[in-house]
């Protein structure tokens, strides 16, 4: 029997495809990672089927590439060595909404659009990264450690207990979902850690190389009863960052972020190019956006003390920072942006990063906020060197947990149909990454060619990681070619 025939026996013909058109659909994404074509695409219906496929893949040494949605920005789901794509987007049930424990359990194919809608109906939300693509997998975004816009919760990530099929084919539950018979148990899966080892850590940032997560428990929060979004134009980024060091520790700010003018323009422009160009010209170099909220009880009183302390600190210590409900010349910005911060990017509208030129390559890392201006300046210098207009570099600074660190993102926009632009961005990024790395940028999510760079430097970590990987994936079937594998 051929491989295909044996696969058909496992999953049935309605869920296996190997026609060229289908395969090509999985061979590329929004990133600059070169295309790679799988041999088969299978849409499993449950963990047991995934298990079957993986066991088969082990017996026959065929790579397996888990794919949880239709939208990818970093190249992690492009098959590097062929193999079987496991398209999990059809496993998209919202399995439980546990209001009492502020928890949701969802399959990996559940998208932001789907989840936000379902939660919103019940008065809930999940903290989210900035404007996630509506069709992206919520679970995958958290597994991949996307950074949330919310800075107020000390517990950061929402992930709790989950189910995974290991690269060896065992079905396994992590955290408190590991009890026998779950979810028919007093345990709700609310604890992410254990059993025995913190398996969930191995799955985070793994780009599909450590197993196939099928569902996960995640934390949800109540939607605030009242919100106030505030803006401040920022001519001097360092000063704004100092302000954040001061105010984010007061714990009154929900969402908080800094965007430079081109990025904010790309997000709020009604249309391109006209509105976009106007905004680029009129927006301040940077805009600070922050949200304060009144939660479930006595929300006006809560907002009152939050505003009081925020304005007092601003007035007494940072008089150059003027917080207001909008930016000068942009009335109604609050009404526009607050919903954007609580929803994924609107479906049907070109993703904001692709609005300007059609495509965007992002370089991002974790650093200390105080270092951000230096990195920004560096990248501007490098952009000039490669003939990329420095004012066309998008910047997004996302403070993390009271500003103890930040996600710093550089967006390089290009026309994907223009090969010169594509080359320019590739060269620029290739040149910039090692410099940034040397200067202390912490690339915790090494996508694409960053992997070689980062793992080449972190020799000890890489060696240990490979040893762990070998235990879980002795036949190296799980998404080979990603990371250092």
């Amino acid at each position: 029997m051929s491989v295909k025939q044996r696969l058909l026996k496992l999953v049935g013909s309605d869920r296996l495809a190997d026609d060229t058109e289908t395969l090509e659909g999985y061979s590329k994404d929004f990133s600059l990672v070169p295309p790679g074509v799988p041999n088969y695409v299978i849409k499993p219906k449950d963990a047991q089927e995934i298990q079957q496929v993986i066991k088969f893949a082990n017996e026959n040494l065929i790579p397996v590439v888990p794919v949880s949605s239709k939208v990818h920005f970093y190249g992690a789901t492009i098959p590097k060595q062929g193999g079987i794509v496991l398209d999990l987007s059809g496993m998209n049930k919202v399995l439980e909404i546990d209001e009492l424990n502020k928890r949701v359990r969802i399959e990996v194919g559940v998208t932001w659009e789907q989840l936000t809608g379902v939660l919103g109906e019940k008065g809930f939300r999940m903290i989210m990264p900035l404007l996630p693509h509506p069709q992206r997998s919520v679970v995958t975004d958290w597994l991949e450690r996307e950074v949330p816009t919310s800075t107020v919760y000390d517990y950061g990530e929402p992930l709790q207990g989950m189910e995974v099929v290991w690269p060896t084919g065992e079905i396994f539950r992590t955290g408190s979902a590991s009890v026998a018979g779950y979810p028919d148990s007093p345990s709700k899966g609310a604890n992410p850690s254990g059993p025995g080892l913190d398996f969930y850590r191995f799955l985070q940032g793994a780009q599909g190389t450590m197993g196939v997560v099928t569902w996960a428990n995640l934390k949800i929060e109540y939607l605030p009863k009242m919100d106030k979004i505030l803006f401040a134009p920022v001519p001097d980024l360092s000063h704004a960052i100092d302000f954040l060091y001061r105010v984010l520790r007061i714990r009154v700010i929900q969402e908080c972020l800094l965007l430079n003018s081109i990025n904010l323009a790309a997000i709020i422009a009604q249309d391109l190019p006209h509105d976009f160009d106007q905004l680029r010209a009129s927006l301040p170099p940077w805009t600070l956006i922050l949200v304060i909220s009144g939660m479930q009880r006595r929300p006006e009183e809560q907002l009152h003390y939050e505003e009081e302390v925020l304005y007092r600190v601003a007035k007494d210590e940072f008089p150059e920072i003027s917080l207001a409900c909008s930016l000068p010349g942009l009335p109604g910005l609050d009404e526009k942006l607050l919903p954007l911060l609580r929803q994924p990017w609107p479906d049907g509208v070109t993703y904001w990063k692709n609005r300007y030129k059609g495509a965007c390559h992002s370089l991002f890392f974790i650093t200390k906020p105080v270092l951000a201006p230096r990195f920004i300046e560096r990248v501007r210098e490098i952009a000039v060197k490669f003939g990329y207009p420095p004012d066309d570099v998008g910047n997004y600074l996302q403070p993390i947990e009271h500003n103890r660190a930040c996600h710093l993102e550089f967006n390089f926009f290009y026309d994907p149909a223009n090969s010169a632009e594509v080359e320019r961005v590739k060269k620029l990024s290739h040149y910039a990454a090692p410099i940034l790395l040397e200067e202390g940028a912490f690339f915790t999510r090494p996508y694409g060619e960053l992997a070689k760079l980062v793992y080449g430097k972190a020799v000890g970590y890489t060696a240990a990681l490979k040893r762990v990987k070998k235990l879980f994936d002795p036949n190296s079937v799980m998404n080979p070619g990603n990371l250092c594998f």
Binding site: L100, K102, R103, D154, Y155, G156, F172, S176, S178, A180, G181, S185, P186, S187, K188, A190, N191, P192, S193, G194, P195, G196, L197, D198, R201, F202, Q204, G205, T209, M210, K219, I250, R251, Q296, R298, E301, Y305, E306, E308, V309, I366, K368, E401, H402, R404, F442, F443, T444, P446, Y455, A458, G460, Y461, L465, R467, V468, K469, L471, F472, C484
Partner: protein, 532 residues
């Protein structure tokens, strides 16, 4: 009992003669029991040994060299910070080296970025004070202020303050680990540079090797450096006051306040916790077990028993005290706001505020954890679980029922169903079940109860922190995951091929069951032959 001469010479050359000893008096000083956490019990008597040699390194390089020597000469070793965790922190086999890490007491603090970098010799009260001086605070684990911050962050790490601050797993930043075979892994941002400010992996996160729900008791390497998150606090000082034994921190009441509430029922307490979490107010919310209040009142063991004998099942059943911590992180107005909301909730649920002292000796600096031993001289937590509040309550009640069968030798507690609280703003709940006994009486029943709780958890599908090294691995392994033990042992075998790092952990409790005649009849699960 001795370390091979060649090995000893090599070890001595690493630290110099002043910091190594095989003297029997020195080694006796490191005996696990008979007093201590989980001491005076069968595990301690059967499984612990005196070290044959004690060594005190100062740097990571020294630790690495020591571990490599141990691998070369097949010298079993155990890392030891303070030894507070009792029997399980001590040597388990003959001719073992105890690596006392107390000299690794480096300390740095990055106030701007809210983290401290510590060595194993730094304990919680030191870290908490350094944090509070700078307007920050941490969770001091229930083990007490005297525990090594690193050891606790690897093994436990929660208290009522976890309601706001959250799990310890999320508070571990850049970390340096000397693997059992002597290789070093630097995790988080230490993988790429010298600043441990961030903890995430390069891709997959090897912090997964540091612990599970609870820790690995030192059988998977030695952490020599860890950066730990500090959390923003409020600016007023918590002033130490009083003379021993009545020392306490005076709280700046407009910014930090505990309030005790009498609630009409346990369900009201549970609902209060949920409502607080929904309103996202508070910095701590916990049920107060009655015997703690009695310990706090009593000036001696005898007075404790005098007071305790006045309680009974009825008083326990009707004792519903909810203790809530409010912190005005932002301002006095915040505390006032949260107190108003809290009173709304309590009033709705029929509760009443009690007069509460504006002081703390239990949670900010946790100076009184040793008081757990006052009553009987023996104490262990047979379980401590983070799941949901809904899990916490029946978990404790279940244990209380089971415990009756083992009382005596367990201390009479009139059916107390343990302690529960709310964590991570209601996303989780916590339950802990503490037991006490007279170590100078027959304690076999305590050993049985300890193991029976594990079986009960499996039967009733409760999650439990006492997995991994804490209970027989071949009992719990198949029941959770399933087969988490397979992965744990695979990792262990990979990184400790010579099995020198704290043998026979994580199989120590399995071995205990095999070796102790009073335990053997409890074995009703399969296991391969245990390696010595």
């Amino acid at each position: 009992m001795a370390i091979a001469k060649k090995a000893y010479k090599a070890l001595e050359s690493i630290v110099s003669a002043e910091y190594i000893s095989t003297d029997p008096v020195v080694c006796e000083g490191y005996r696990a029991g008979p007093g201590g956490y989980e001491c005076g019990l069968g595990y301690e008597r059967v499984m612990t040994k005196l070290p044959a040699c004690v060594i005190m390194p100062r740097t990571t390089e020294e630790v690495q060299k020591i571990v490599k020597v141990c691998n070369r000469y097949k010298v079993p070793y155990v890392p030891f910070s303070t030894g507070w965790y009792g029997a399980r922190s001590h040597p388990h086999v003959d001719n073992e080296l105890l690596i006392d890490l107390k000299r690794m007491a480096d300390f740095e603090i990055d106030e701007k970025h809210l983290y401290a970098v510590v060595g194993s010799g730094i304990i919680y009260s030191q870290l908490q004070e350094e944090a509070m001086k700078r307007g920050m605070y941490i969770v001091v684990g229930g083990g007490g202020s005297q525990v090594s911050a690193i050891a606790n962050m690897l093994g436990d790490g929660w208290s009522p303050l976890s309601y706001r601050i959250g799990l310890p797993h999320r508070r571990i930043l850049g970390t340096e680990l000397v693997l059992p075979d002597g290789e070093i892994v630097r995790m988080g941002s230490l993988a790429l540079g010298d600043d441990p400010f961030w903890g995430d992996g390069l891709g997959p996160d090897l912090r997964g090797l540091l612990r599970g729900f609870t820790g690995l008791r030192g059988c998977l390497g030695i952490v020599t450096k860890m950066a730990i998150k500090l959390l923003p606090f409020q600016p007023e000082r918590l002033e130490p006051s009083g003379i021993s034994p009545d020392t306490t921190l005076l709280l700046p009441e407009k910014r930090v306040k505990w309030i005790n509430f009498t609630m009409p029922s346990k369900d009201a307490m549970r609902r209060a916790m949920y409502e607080m979490a929904k309103a996202e107010i508070g910095a701590g919310a916990t049920k107060v077990p009655l015997f703690w209040r009695v310990i706090a009142k009593a000036e001696s063991k005898e007075e404790f028993w005098e007071l305790w004998s006045k309680e009974n099942e009825e008083t326990i059943k009707n004792f519903h005290i909810l203790r809530v911590l409010l912190i005005g992180f932002a301002s006095e107005e915040q505390l006032e706001y949260e107190e108003r909301v809290l009173m709304d909730i309590i009033t709705e649920l029929g509760g009443e505020a009690r007069r509460t002292r504006p002081s703390d000796e239990s949670w900010f600096k946790n100076a009184d954890s040793a008081g757990m031993w006052l009553m009987c001289g023996g104490y262990v937590s047979v379980d401590y679980v983070i799941e949901t509040v809904e899990h916490a309550i029946p978990h404790g009640e279940n244990y209380a029922k089971l415990k009756r069968k083992f009382t005596p030798p367990l201390m009479p507690d009139y059916g107390d169903p343990g302690w529960f609280q709310s964590f991570e703003l209601g996303h989780q709940g916590y339950s802990e079940f503490l037991v006490y006994w007279d170590p100078d009486e027959n304690t076999d029943g305590v050993d049985h109860f300890y193991l029976e709780t594990s079986k009960e958890n499996i039967r009733k599908r409760f999650y439990t922190s006492l997995l991994g090294p804490h209970q027989p691995l071949y009992l719990t392994g198949p029941a959770y995951g399933p087969n988490y033990h397979k992965w744990l042992l695979a990792v262990k075998n990979e990184f400790d091929p010579n099995f020198v790092c704290h043998p026979p952990v994580p199989l120590a409790h399995d071995e205990f069951v095999e070796r102790a005649p009073w335990m053997k009849p409890m074995k009703d699960w399969e296991s391969p032959e245990i390696k010595p």
